[in-house]
């Protein structure tokens, strides 16, 4: 009886100590900063882009995508107090690679005066401080082929495919956007309240009906191969930079 009591007591005591230890750990859990995934959908109007498929536009042209790659850089959320909280560096996106459709990061809410954010901002391309050397790693590794080697700097966006002109002839379409003139940060409204220990999937539509249409009409028949390689491309670059502002929109937000 005595022995059994001692045994039982020891067991209870041991459990209590171990439980206590565990309790201590769980009592003050370190909050995990909210994780944010910017998930991109590549569309022409309402249709999700399919590789090789042709999409018609009002100018009597239709066009396709064999490749669509671009950099999303230094994404940030801005709260109602005006705090800008960055959550990504440079991410290479690829419309036809399932592993390259999102840019992710986390935000430390201790750095924010309030947790309601009403603006999403990100750059398309490589920001000036990273665009002056090819001596870089990660998604900026020159091996991804997104860099010009005769003039140091990254290709911000590659759209390669074909287009059918108004006479029905099929021609190549090759657009490479880049140079310091092309770097722009795009802003869009959002309404999101961030909480620790949560993951937010922010779905962003990248709409190519807008990229080549508004406010500047870009017709492929006039210029189907543009590589940002000289001053003759400046008007095209300016048009693209303006049009891209209309091409992005937040379609939905999922909280997990």
């Amino acid at each position: 009886m005595n022995k059994n009591f001692l045994k039982a007591f020891s067991l209870i005591a041991l459990s209590a100590i171990l439980w206590g230890c565990r309790d201590k750990e769980t009592e003050t859990p370190t909050p995990v900063n909210p994780k944010i995934n910017l998930v991109f959908s590549h569309k022409v109007g309402d249709q999700e882009i399919v590789q090789g498929q042709f999409y018609s536009r009002s100018q009597g042209e239709s066009f396709s995508f064999d490749m669509l790659k671009y950099y999303v850089s230094q994404a940030a959320l801005v709260n109602t107090a005006g705090d800008t909280l960055y959550f990504t560096g440079h991410n290479l996106m690829d419309a036809f690679n399932a592993n390259r459709k999102k840019a992710s990061g986390s935000i430390d809410l201790d750095n924010a005066q309030m947790s309601t954010f009403n603006e999403l901002i990100f750059g398309i391309g490589v920001s000036p401080e990273f665009n002056t050397s090819g001596d870089q790693a990660g998604d900026l590794d020159p091996a991804f082929g997104m860099i010009w080697t005769w003039s140091t700097g990254y290709i911000f966006m590659k759209h390669e495919g074909q287009f059918i002109d108004s006479t029905g002839a099929t021609q190549p379409l090759l657009y490479h956007l880049g140079t310091s003139r092309a770097y722009q940060r795009y802003s869009m409204p959002i309404n999101i309240q961030l909480k620790n220990d949560k993951t937010y999937d922010i779905h962003v539509d990248f709409n190519f009906a807008e990229v080549y249409n508004s406010p500047n009409l870009i017709t492929f028949t006039d210029n189907n191969v543009i590589q940002s390689s000289g001053s003759q491309d400046i008007p095209w670059i300016s048009s693209m930079v303006q049009n891209l502002q209309n091409a992005f929109s937040v379609s939905s937000i999922q909280v997990k």
Partner: protein
């Protein structure tokens, strides 16, 4: 119970200690720092903090520089067009790539690169590391992709270990390939020519060479000194239109800046070892140094962006004797120690 707690505490300490140990891992990566031996004729060289010189890094860069593994069909290396005996340039007007296609510009000498602010004839490459990216992928040069080049290096019997020793990395990336090459290139320092020894009072110049030096610096005669600043690197590394053509065939610096004022401008090259780095000019149009001097004497064209110093220069201001003297002076800039240094040759 106390024993148990102590035991638990001991276990935890062990776990934490062992974690700390695996983080550091000091045995593997201990490259030997390398200090450049810079001659008194040249200033200190600034080395980027991201790519400090090490014995292992330089040796790796030298091996890569001479290895055709970086070209599309493994037939050409950097050294194919940058040959030590000709100041790491090539004695042809234009170089031929792996597919038999020729470029339109003359292969640049690789001398004292660590002092240059940017690279290529038009300054398109922002640092030595970025410069090395270009020729590897250019379809008319080594015609390789960096993706392939890196895969070949990863599968090579020697390179993974050499990159590990030089940079402490487990997987080779293009970033470390260009860093290694840049380290080797920064060691290609030339500052021990006859002229340098003359400045140091160790050797004397001939009468003709002395006359050449005088013409070189005389603003009413050669005025070479204006851009090829006497001493040190013998260049200010600025971009100028020197009137090679009234309408430039190659737009030069304009291609990079898209600024009309830069049309037909090219970088002032160093004159060190100029005796052996011909043909001359960005397009290799002149075979001899005398042709170059004659160009600045009377051959230049009045292009819209012609450099102001040439615009105001009187044509035919130098006699043939004076021009030959300038050439004789330029030949005192040859550094035989540099051109024959076994440390710069194939490993």
């Amino acid at each position: 119970m106390r024993k148990l707690s102590f035991f638990v505490l001991f276990l935890m300490t062990m776990v934490v200690a062992s974690c700390d140990r695996c983080k550091d891992n000091p045995q593997e990566f201990q490259p030997t720092p390398y200090t450049l031996d810079i001659p008194s004729s040249l200033p200190a060289m600034s080395i980027p903090s991201t790519n400090p010189l090490t014995v292992e890094g330089i040796a790796l860069g030298r091996k890569l520089f001479y290895d055709p593994i970086l070209s599309g069909n493994n037939t050409q290396s950097c050294s194919s067009c940058h040959i030590q005996s000709t100041g790491f340039s090539e004695p042809y007007q234009h170089s031929t790539g792996i597919d038999g296609i020729q470029g339109t510009r003359n292969a640049m000498p690789l001398i004292n690169l660590g002092y240059q602010p940017n690279f290529f004839w038009d300054g398109g490459a922002a640092d030595i590391e970025s410069q090395a990216l270009g020729p590897v992928t250019n379809p008319i040069e080594m015609h390789e992709t960096w993706q392939n080049a890196v895969i070949e290096l990863r599968n090579h019997p020697d390179y993974p270990a050499l990159f590990k020793q030089a940079f402490g990395i487990d997987q080779i990336t293009s970033q470390y390939v260009v860093r290694a090459i840049a380290q080797f290139e920064r060691t290609l320092i030339s500052g021990n020519s006859k002229y340098d020894r003359y400045v140091q009072g160790l050797e004397s110049l001939t009468d003709q060479e002395m006359l050449g030096l005088q013409i070189f610096t005389d603003p009413m005669k050669g005025d070479c000194n204006h851009c090829h600043v006497l001493g040190s690197t013998f260049s200010d590394f600025e971009y100028r239109n020197t009137g090679l053509d009234s309408i430039p065939v190659d737009e030069g610096r304009f291609r990079i800046t898209w600024n009309n004022a830069d049309k037909g401008k090219f970088k002032t090259p160093s004159l060190r070892n100029i005796e052996v780095t011909g043909p001359y000019m960005h397009d290799g149009r002149f075979m001899t140094l005398l042709e170059c001097v004659e160009h600045y004497n009377s051959g230049f064209h009045y292009a819209p962006n012609l450099d102001a110093n040439l615009y105001t220069a009187v044509k035919g201001r130098m006699s043939i004797e004076e021009m030959e003297a300038v050439v004789a002076f330029m030949k005192t800039l040859t550094d035989h120690e540099f051109l024959n240094n076994p440390k710069f040759g194939a490993p």
